[in-house]
Amino acid sequence: MSRVPYTSTTNACKLCTPLGAALVFKGIEGGVPFLHGSQGCATYMRRYIISHFREPMDIASSALGEKHAVYGGGPNLKKGLLNVMKKYSPALIGVASTCLTETIGDDVQMILHEFRKEFGDLELPEIVHCSTPSYMGTHMEGWHRAVRAIVDQMVTDKAPPAHSVNILPSLVSPADIRHLRELCATFGIAPVILPDISDTLDGTAKEDYEPIPEGGTPLAAIRGMSGARATIQFGRTLADRDSAGESLRRRFGVPCHTVGMPIGIRESDAFFAALEEAAGVPMPREVGLERGRLVDAMVDAHKYVFGKRVVVYGEEDLVVGLTAFLAEIGMKPVLVATGARNMGLEKHIADVCAGVAGELPEIHEGVDFHDIAERSATLAPDLMVGHSKGYRYAREWNVPLIRVGFPIHDRFGGQRMLHIGYRGALALLDHIVNAILEKKQEDSPVGYVYL
């Protein structure tokens, strides 16, 4: 249910639109994110992203001042692009607008058109732009808009057929993306993962500071997406939207599988089924073994987790995936919440809970942590699952918080957390069970040795 009428926001459970776009552009090979707005937006988002990934995150800005706000930001956008070209030699600059430039009415498409004409003699990078006013949607909206913009603006011709699959993984961790690539290899298929932040936001120690870190989806691979055997995009809520995968299907006939975030058994099954179909091979033995190990562990764990009441919050598709898994292991999601609006969460949660959960959780869209806390007070949760922002509430209620998603800035290694596929579910299961055991051990007057 959505909140009406208006109430103010206290401790938001979402981030702003351009942040998602900046993360996407960071996952392109040679890509530099560029925010068209005042300097603060870029700097705040850099700080925020750095605290999660612990990696450099250079976001350029058109650094608009008062006179630009009055006379338009075009000149500064052009100047900024030239400076980024000089210092970074990027293969791609991803320009995302902000609430300021959207509201003063800057026509970024036209400015870029002029820019290409004025500086056509220079070797221009690919310049992709997307409209991301922060008063429309959340960071996930910005993410999907940027992916869509890349596909629409760069995939313009039908590429020769290739034995590849496009994977649009949404916001998952670098470790998840590395796992995806490995999985595709076991299916004997080359994936084009868009975006690919596995190296750019989880890099190695190097000889030098790289202006643009190595890695990211190669531009040629993006242009070739029109020749892929299929697109698999993660996120049940994408099915209701005009997504990047849908754009590739409509324009180039690339079959599009929209699956849920592959978290837990059944959502992962659906992903692997799509992969089997795209690759034209049955599930490899190794993957089957991982599924078996997961089921085995679920059996081992079932008594510790059964009936435990969980509050789940975060990005719309992530919470659907997490709820699916928590219900599968017999936990009781009592509240599922997201800061996003109009995501059809009730239906998606009902779908993933079907057959495993007795009673459906309360579902709230467009909420902040004040609402979540207010609702949870009567729900008496045993556990919270979500990003670091729930910490103050978990502390208040003295329940464990399983940190999943973005941002994780009060723990180490958020970027290396695995969630997806059978292996990811197993990692998540270990975390959850151990958190419950630790709490039980801590609360116990005698201190168990065997549990």
């Binding site: 103010s8 926001t9 603060g40 750095i50 800005s61 400076n83 300021l100 008063y135």
Partner: protein, 484 residues
């Protein structure tokens, strides 16, 4: 030309000590596309006012501005913690079209009733400046309705840099100053207020109580026989600020943040101010002596007490520092900080550790600040205004730096280059002010510069073996400390 690979427009913001006259361009807009480390006007206001713990801080704008500033500073409170919550009007598209005033009114109405704050600050963001919501009018109405001061902070992000934000914050606070007299019965006329000034009292300005630092400083002042009326703004309270005009002195730390408030108070109430710094040994001691001297006309014994305090603290500190200095001697330091005033103290503090500062930069320094930096740094030191990751990484390599001091955004630059890093910004969890802070600082510097991990970083793997030996020595020392 050593700086040939700087962007042309950036060259006038880089200087090398001793190489020609200093003619630094500063306090200008950040260059588009240069990836400045700076934030915006809103950021400046938010950081200054943020630690006032019993005020409601409502960000009027789309959600981003509020979420990125949600509880990001380590400003501790000894009482209420309202400042740690993130409030926003969360403007949506239709508000941008039809105006955000109704939402602002509704939000204030709801939040003031819910939290009973002593005052409310309403921050204006970029978009509010564009759509032209009349914050002043909304705040005036809410002040009348709710019976608490509801104060607009004119902090539209695009209206300059962080420095303008400091001014906006000071203007907002100044509206509170003088609205309560120290003696509640006294009238508020200016002359009467001036007469009501209480001897042996002061306000602490420009300290944000990161990791509880202001508590260390307050204790020093109290040991000197002084009473602190208002903490502005670390561990701040609205009522204290309202009566802070009754203090005999303002001590101002942080070059940019609260100096404007001190100037306004001087003009309006005649309150004198002293610039101080609590970082490092000399600056901490000098600051206490300056304050003691100011009050010695009221209490001739204060200087003696202050000397005792400083002597006692130094007796504890110096032997410990000497141990760290043995390892750190000769190491090179770069720093990039928000305000430049902190940099003066740090340059001196590093000398006590035997370390040499080879790069110093700031986001918001003034020409005078940079002149002073040029005067106190060694020849060849790079001084830079409003820098960016590529420039900083270039200078770190050129100067073969061992330690970088900065904030979260600078951390990965240092780490990728295999250089130790100390957070001397608002997220720090260690108190670095005062004499005890100097020891904490030395300990952190030591742990950062001496860690054996740098041996494994590609850029430094091939460095001479003395690094490795020093690291072994350090580990030995840590063990001794643990045993003790």
């Amino acid at each position: 030309m050593p700086d040939g690979d700087l962007l042309d427009e950036r060259r006038s913001q880089v200087h090398r000590t001793g190489e020609g006259p200093l003619d630094m361009a500063c306090n200008r807009e950040s260059l588009a596309g240069a990836v400045s480390q700076r934030a915006c006007v809103f950021c400046g206001s938010r950081v200054v006012l943020y630690p006032i713990a019993d005020a409601l801080h409502l960000v009027h704008g789309p959600i981003g501005c509020a979420v990125y500033t949600w509880d990001i500073r380590g400003a501790l409170s000894s009482g209420p913690e309202l400042h740690r919550l993130s409030f926003s009007t969360d403007l949506q598209e239709k508000d941008v079209i039809f105006g955000g005033e109704p939402k602002l009114t509704a939000a204030l109405d709801e939040l003031i009733d819910r939290h009973n704050p002593k005052a409310a600050f309403v921050y204006s963001t970029c978009i509010v400046g564009i759509i032209g919501d009349d914050l002043e009018a909304v705040c005036r109405k809410m002040t009348a309705t709710k019976g608490i001061p509801v104060i607009p902070v004119m902090s539209e992000g695009f209206k300059g840099n962080k420095r303008e934000g400091y001014v906006a914050a000071c203007k907002a606070m100044f509206r509170l100053v003088g609205t309560a007299s120290g003696n509640e019965a006294a009238p508020l006329e200016k002359e009467a207020v001036r007469a009501a000034v209480r001897p042996m009292t002061l306000n602490i300005l420009g300290d944000f109580n990161l990791a509880g630092e202001i508590w260390i400083i307050r204790e020093y002042f109290e040991r000197m026989g002084l009473t602190v009326i208002a903490n502005i703004t670390g561990d701040g309270r609205v009522d204290d600020i309202r009566r802070c005009h009754t203090a005999a002195l303002n001590v101002v730390q942080c070059s940019g943040a609260t100096m404007d408030l001190a100037k306004m108070m001087k003009e309006e109430y005649g309150t004198p101010f002293l610039r101080v710094s609590y970082l490092g040994i000399e600056d901490m001691a000098d600051s206490l002596y300056d304050v003691a001297e100011f009050f010695s006309k009221d209490d001739p014994d204060i200087m003696r007490r202050t000397q005792e305090l400083v002597r006692g603290e130094l007796a504890k500190l110096m032997p410990e520092l000497a141990r760290y200095r043995r390892d750190l001697q000769g190491k090179r330091v770069a720093m990039y900080v928000g305000g430049s005033f902190k940099a003066f103290s740090l340059v001196k503090a590093f000398r006590h550790l035997g370390m040499q500062v080879v790069l110093v930069g700031s986001q918001t320094g003034t020409k005078e600040d940079y002149e002073e930096l040029a005067a106190i740094t060694d020849p060849g030191t790079v001084i830079v205004d409003d820098s960016n990751p590529l420039e900083l990484s270039k200078f770190i390599k050129e100067k073969d730096v061992d330690l970088f001091v900065g904030g979260v955004k600078e951390r990965p630059i240092a780490y990728k280059l295999g250089v130790g890093f100390c957070d001397h910004n608002h997220e720090r969890k260690e108190a670095l002010e005062g004499f005890v802070g100097m020891l904490n600082f030395a300990r952190e510097v030591h742990a950062s510069a001496m860690s054996p991990v740098w041996r494994f970083v590609p850029r430094r793997e091939k460095r001479p073996a003395h690094t490795a030996q020093a690291a072994t020595a350090a580990t030995g020392q840590e063990k001794k400390e643990d045993a003790a």
